[in-house]
């Protein structure tokens, strides 16, 4: 009969109206400046540089290999290699970037720089509230603004960061006997034995390094 459909529709909207005061799934709005929607882990916006430890400048993993600058499609990364070397997190002296700039008005978030970096030094950040008053200078982020700690990386991408840390620790464990054994003046066969006999390595490593593999 005419009108039955209308009454059903009215009942539905009435239920929606009254339900919006009591249940959260009938009022799905998030009031933006005060609340934020939870982000999923795979969110990405613009890149940032990871540093280990507490000092942003000396703990940077980046060694100025220029691979990301060459691979970046819109060429938004500018790197200047330093002239001296400083020890990185594992103690080996490496170059470091004297200047590392990303122009985020050009960056298209393609993540190619992250994919090609052999040192896990550059990762994707999730921060999006980056608007500024100046269109050109303020959107050219320098090294100081790009450097963020490994703990921050764990916060925004937990599983990724855990995997990266595991890989880095494994690589460090494989490479660890070399720099540590040399100052101890152990004979050359020791690292050779370590690489040739993996069974001896776990026995040697805890003695020399003292840290868990």
């Amino acid at each position: 009969m005419l009108g039955v459909g209308i009454l059903k529709g009215l009942a539905e909207t009435g239920r929606n109206f009254l339900g919006s005061f009591v249940s959260k799934d009938r009022l799905t709005t998030i009031q933006f400046p005060e609340e934020r929607a939870p982000r999923i882990e795979a969110t990405r916006n613009f890149p940032f540089l990871v540093y280990d430890g507490t000092d942003p400048m000396s703990g940077l993993r980046c060694v100025s290999c220029f691979i990301c600058e060459k691979e970046c499609p819109p060429k938004c990364i500018l790197i200047e290699k330093s002239t001296d070397k400083k020890p990185d997190a594992t103690g080996k002296p490496q170059f470091y970037p004297a200047q590392f700039q990303i122009d985020i008005s050009v960056c298209m978030s393609c993540q190619i720089c992250v994919e090609v970096c052999p040192f896990d030094a550059i990762k994707m950040d999730t921060e999006f509230e980056l608007s500024t008053q100046d269109r050109f200078d303020d959107l050219l982020l320098p090294k100081q603004r790009l450097a963020k700690s490994n703990e921050y990386y764990h916060e925004i991408h937990p599983t990724e960061a855990a995997a990266v840390d595991a890989e880095l620790a494994a690589a460090r464990a494989k490479a660890a006997p070399k720099p540590v054994a040399a100052p101890a003046a152990v004979a050359a066969p020791a690292p050779v034995a370590a690489t040739l006999e993996p069974a001896a390595a776990p026995a040697a490593a805890p003695d020399t390094k003292g840290s868990a593999v």
């Binding site: 009969m1 005419l2 929606n16 009938r26 009031q31």
Partner: protein, 392 residues
Amino acid sequence: MTPETIDQIFVITKHWLLGYVPAALQPIVSAILSVVPILLAFPLLFAITTVLERKGLGRIQNRYGPNRVGPLGILQPMADGIKSLTKEDVVPRAADQIVHFLAPILIVIAAFLAYAVLPIGRNMVVVNLNAGLLYFFAIGSMVELAVFMAGWSSHSKYSLLGAMRAVAQMISYEVPLVLASIVVIMAAGSLSTVAIVEAQTGYTYTFPHWFVFTPWGFAGFILFMIAATAESNRSPFDLPEGESEIIAGYYIEYSGFKFALFFLGEYLGMFATSALAITLFLGGWSAPFSWLTWIPSYLWFFAKLLVLIGIFIWIRGTLPRLRMDQLMGMAWKFMLPMTLLNLITAGVWHFMPGGILRWIVCTAMVVVPCILLSRSMKQGKTLQVRTYRYAE
């Protein structure tokens, strides 16, 4: 402070103020004192309604309404008012300047004039005309002329088309509107709105004598509300307005304050027809139960008006817009026969002796044609399962 004093507080205040005025000026001052509360109360109600509508529609649509301007957003009309006052008034160069200027003014004047015969409370009507209801419909017909003036003077083909459609819709729905109110005139025996409300103020065992509680009254009320929704161009009949989002409606060339005047006129028209529905069918200012008569009459009137406005908002949030041919088809093929049959039902009700038999007969006389007419309207339009053919 007896309940009667609170009920008549405005009348008593007006007489007290008139005592200070010399006798020669008394008619004019009395007229001014009667009119000024209407000019203050109903635009305030318009402001409240805009907030209620936006927040109500928002809640229906799973979102908050405006909630930034005041606490819970209730000062939003102030922001809207400032916006509409400070916007630039753009008038097309080829437009008819005088008519373009007069059209929104005429709409607001006609909308305000309609309140002159509506009894807001006991003894609270601006002027008690013997042919009050006829006055109301006469003023309503001036709105159509103003709509046409707006569409024509904008000198735009789309606005002219929108105006034609709006005028056609308003004229088509004026017929069921008037016919649905004739049953009330028949039952009350008078065209005066005050007399119609007086005829509904009795109580039998605490139940009121409102006309809506009779079969013909209920059908008349539903038909009147549908026609009132169409008369004030309100969703789901807002094709003249909604079309302004797609192509131009009749007030697309208006900006700033004139646009706000059109909105004011439309909402005031909605309030006026709701108030008339309350007067005709819902007992005007009388209380629903006899033990509630201590609440002042004007509070009952505004409470019923707010309930009807809430229903308008609810329907707006629920129904999709009707197409022009569906709209006109419903007016001429469904509502006109229903209102005429309602007239016959009201006559049968009047002449049959009271009792359960007259309820059964009149309810059948209203419900059966409704079902038959709705079946005949759906006849040619069976929904078929759609099959799609893809290009090879």
